[in-house]
Symmetry: C2
Subunit: 682 residues, 2 copies
């Protein structure tokens, strides 16, 4: 579970059963927990856990010392490691241990946000869209979100607590809107990461598998004003962990689920995005793997993007399997009929309206994904070019009139991305860009107007090679100049990648507008009506679909039964050595082999729990009722991938690193005395 | 349409509409043609066309001179060209023109079969399986097929006409069985092939597109006793071609259709084989393309397999689109309900029985495809090893007890394949084998027993590299010794690839047996009952699904309407030069550029017709009512791919090379005087 899944458009809510549920902190079912497990989850407990939990760029983490120390997964810092690497040395492969605080390395683009406050703004949105057509409501809603975020940020900037990031989250398919306020740390430094061979022992074959032996942890530190941040809210670690059946909680940021998308939306996913994305991703995996066979340097630079791609492939592959399980669609139909029957909604049937919208989406899908979602222009430098081009255009408009990703609240993150001098590997850029151009020609056809314009005199390979060779956008100084120069500078730019982005922008914006009006707007309107029906029938005994915002769930340490055989919820170090083949991804690093005799082979390694988590929860602390960390979530079992669409408590399991193996490794393999001491482990 | 599609298990028949239909020669609807087009298709006409038409290994062809000259597509001889190439020179790229008959180059594995007789043996099969359970009937049927083929071959060997190849074809889902008798030419030589750049101008982007400008033709010659074969039945070419709306016929060997598979079978295809095969093929495409970027020699050796793969991807991709079109499955359900209603079958519902069988097939699918279909062992040398291993085993058994692919009638083709010293490129073998092992580990999981046994101490890459480096099976002499040495030699062999094939054989055979008993047998029994129902309701006004056996259809020269715009049925040479970009696949060869001024730019290039063809019809002559060749089929438009499942006469079009461009090219570009003369073109 290497990263946050693509956030899908539509949210949902469903009656919870067993320990299912990704609850918002304001609606956590403390009484149900009390009743079932006799544990007291108090408002103070919730506040402390919330303020100790961190949202990273695409993961979760937690503070584990009062001096800003952060615990998360190795795969959550892989992009930081890769950005600090080069063709000659890969920190992903070698790992990293800062010998002193001064040697802690600043990540170039990692951010750490803590949710310090929230406000229900549903009424303001409802007022703004009342009585409007679907399309007008869709526009008015976005303008209102922008206005509210802007007011919030301006107010916080005037307050003595300091400026906050304000972001509205849409819950329950538009049934609720909350304004979330984050304290942001933009100086995050690398403290410790083990070698990839042990952090992701088992690699892609073992990804989403259990039993498991992956030491998927790493340590960062938040800084403020060039000093370790003062973080009074942090979680202590219980290195002994827990026993089977004990109660556990997971705070974190599940990225995206689609549990109450309608049947029509799931059929759309099954028929178009999943198989098409899988085909493109599979081919790119082939290109990456073959590219990496050429020499060790190429293998090094391709490792991080390849890992992320392989994870995405496994996720989508099992999502497709889930949608091909007739039980899923049947139960979906039954749930829809039951709700339709119970709610007795007046007017047009919203499930039918959504079905009509997905029929239109089928027609728009290829153009939308290749042109607007840039599946045809897969290149970091193209992404920069489009950010510069659109950013220049959008910033000339009033804040509320901009595309949502360019509102004032969004600009600091864009700016940070553009200004970071991350390594660019031209050979990989040519690879991904030429492949995506070629597939765009394949899928849209050689006679599509955009394809004809781009490729009638150049091949995908020669066009990609020329653009990457001649653009200057790989230089952060050039990007900064263009961003600061605004529309005049970008309009005057002859950089070929800017020109290329400019050439495809009218069609990309046009298909986006068609998508918003014909698909997004009617789905939003109907989804909101379904959400209202669900509140009416099921009350607040529901939780919203995941939105990469803070949630809390509860569950227990537990295995499951696979093909009639029980799977125990713990693994131990000894078996990792037995499983090793000597070759990645089943290679135990030399450093471990050297001290093998000193290691306690009975050290617990990984744990499985019933926690209801998905991608985005990576790095979440697994905590006990006392608020102590008893594990570090990093994955789920293979059945957990279907959790995107439904939660099957009989076999959906989350997978965590046991704290005992972290202590064993830091102590005996890495000799990280200071770190152990800061973690109170000595 | 570069090759024969995989032949699927189940055949079907459906009432014909418009010019739809792949008719057997014994049931050609001459009266319908007479009524609609006033053309007389006599038995003599049918005999002459049948005896002039050739089945190649995976294509169709026709005799075009009394001295064994054969006309077919360039892409049908691509494997012959590749077998005669090396890392240093690619005949696929350069083309080939024999300066004299002595210089005609023998293809290493091409065969040419002509259907000289046939016999209805349905009664014998029915008798053999009467009263048996599904599983027993399935076994008895196979034994009877073997017995009948054996008797036929033995009888022909005693006759003075000479030994024939006998093969039983299952028509109408087991509604009919015919014993087909072929005269085989096993000495087929290369006479002429143009450069790939003009033969497949437009490449993969233009594949299955029209308008089109691909000179996809080549010329072979059949030899007997080292002399050009005497072929009194041949087709003359009318180099002027035909006009729009004129009546045309296509004799040939459509490979496989699934037009009356049941809804459950189509849903199985949609959910498992198509997406899974597409993912694997897409990744292999990525590997191949990246491999070819390394240097020109690598690009040369990967070209032929890459072309074939790209074709398969496009076909399957559009098949998946067809199955995702709700109209298709709805019409399928309606047709099933109508037939069920009309036929009033007693006993268990056969559609439901097939649905149950496909539910079992879903469970077996991954094991079956990776282990028995060798999706986990993608290597020509593994294929050789399995042929040797199983061939040695099977030949110790009585003919009727063998796996059907090892009956006496099948041995000559296997032997020919094993003895041919075709080039083996170890780097490509390692690529395909390591990838397939890796994907087997991914899909079956690292803890599948076979995966554990093969990969617990070696990585896919190191295992593949070792097997390919150490096996001697790349040497045809070694293969011949092992084949001739039989079971004793193979049992004693320590060749690592033989040992590898031996290691996976028990599981592969076991899953095959489960598949045959649990899936194949009940589907065969139920499909036969559906076929009987269809005969009862629709009589003989039906045609069987394609089986890569000889068929004839009729249609007209016609375009269609695409998105409201008419597509004309002819293209002309001039537009090819306008479409050229200078880079493959839109590059016109230098040889053409040099004589550009002498070429008649108004020469017709390609034609579209309503002919109902699919893969396997590649190389079919397009003939007029007088039996003259007026085109050379090589492809269909994009809508024709859905023809695997249904025929939509409004937009399904076949695509042929116009004979005028063949004459123009041979005359002005290649100066092939002797060939033109033999074709009566001068």
């Amino acid at each position: 579970m290497r990263g946050l899944l693509l956030v899908l458009a539509c949210l949902a809510a469903l009656p919870a059963v067993a320990d299912e549920g990704m609850w918002t902190f304001d609606n956590f079912p403390s009484s149900a927990v009390k009743q079932r497990y006799e544990a007291d989850i108090t408002p103070a407990w919730l506040d402390h856990v919330r303020l100790s939990t961190i949202r990273l760029t695409n993961c979760t983490a937690s503070f584990v010392s009062p001096e800003g120390l952060i615990l998360t997964n190795h795969h959550c810092v892989e992009s930081c490691l890769a950005e600090l690497s080069s063709k000659d040395i890969s920190l992903v492969q070698t790992g990293f241990a800062a010998p002193s605080r001064r040697a802690e390395l600043r990540c170039l683009s990692q951010l750490a946000d803590v949710l310090v406050g929230s406000e229900n703004v549903t009424a303001a949105i409802s007022t703004a869209i009342a009585g409007l057509s679907d399309t007008a409501a869709n526009d008015a809603r976005k303008r209102t979100l922008t206005t509210l975020e802007q007011s919030c940020e301006q107010a916080s900037a005037r307050a003595k607590s300091g400026k906050l990031r304000c972001q509205i989250v849409t819950l329950y398919q538009g049934g609720q809107y909350f304004l979330y306020k984050y304290k942001r740390y933009d100086d995050v430094r690398l403290v410790f990461a083990p070698e990839a061979d042990i952090a992701s022992f088992g690699g892609d074959p073992d990804n989403f598998q259990f039993p498991r032996w992956s030491l998927d942890f790493s340590v960062l530190r938040a800084y403020e004003n060039d000093k370790p941040a003062n973080t009074p809210n942090y979680l202590r670690i219980n290195f002994d962990g827990l026993h089977v059946n004990q109660l556990v909680f997971v705070p974190g940021h599940p990225g995206s689920t689609a549990r109450l998308q309608t049947r029509a939306q799931l059929e759309f996913d099954r028929d178009l995005p999943l198989p098409i994305t899988l085909m493109r991703a599979a081919e790119l995996r082939g290109r990456f793997i073959q590219f990496g066979t050429t020499n060790p340097a190429d293998a090094r630079i391709v490792q991080a993007p390849l890992n992320s791609l392989q994870n995405a492939i496994k996720v989508r592959r099992k999502q497709l399997d889930a949608l091909n399980d007739p039980k899923l669609l049947t139960s979906k139909t039954e749930a829809e009929e039951k709700l339709r029957e119970s709610a007795q909604l007046p007017g047009a049937d919203p499930w039918h309206e959504i079905e009509s919208a997905t029929a239109r989406e089928r027609i728009l899908y290829l153009d939308y994904s290749f042109l607007e979602n840039a599946a045809g222009f897969n290149s970091g430098l193209f992404r920069d070019a489009r950010l510069l081009l659109r950013g220049a255009d959008e910033r000339t408009r009033p804040n509320v009139d901009r595309l949502r990703e360019f509102t004032d609240a969004s600009l600091p993150a864009i700016q940070r991305e553009l200004y970071a001098q991350v390594p660019v590997y031209p050979e990989l850029e040519v690879l991904t860009l030429s492949l995506s151009l070629e597939r765009m020609r394949e899928w849209l056809g050689p006679d599509h107007p955009v394809v004809r314009r781009l490729l009638s005199k150049e091949s995908p390979e020669s066009l990609a090679a020329r653009l990457i060779a001649e653009t200057k956008l790989d230089d952060a100084v050039v990007r900064k100049q263009l961003w600061q120069g605004g529309k005049a500078a970008v309009d005057a730019s002859l950089d070929p990648m800017i020109e290329f982005a400019r050439a495809v922008d009218p069609e990309a914006r046009a298909v986006r507008k068609r998508f918003e009006d014909q698909v997004e707007a009617p789905i939003a309107a109907s989804a909101q009506r379904i959400a209202a029906a669900r509140f009416k029938v099921y009350g607040t005994n529901v939780y919203p679909d995941a939105t990469f915002t803070l949630r809390l769930n509860y569950g227990t340490v537990l295995g499951w039964v696979e093909n009639g055989s029980p799977v125990e919820p713990f693994t131990y170090l000894g078996r990792a050595f037995e499983r090793a083949t000597g070759a990645s991804p089943f290679k135990i690093p030399d450093r471990w082999m050297k001290v093998k005799d000193q290691l306690n082979m009975s050290t617990p390694f990984c744990i499985s729990t019933t926690s209801d988590i998905v991608g985005g929860n990576s790095g979440s602390p697994l905590i006990d009722a006392g608020g102590k960390i008893v594990g570090l979530m990093f994955d789920g079992n293979i059945h957990s991938i279907a959790g995107h669409y439904w939660f099957d408590g009989s076999n959906n399991r989350a997978v965590a690193v046991h704290p005992a193996i972290i202590r064993e490794a830091l102590d005996k393999v890495y000799g990280a005395k200071a770190l152990l001491s800061e973690l109170n482990a000595t």
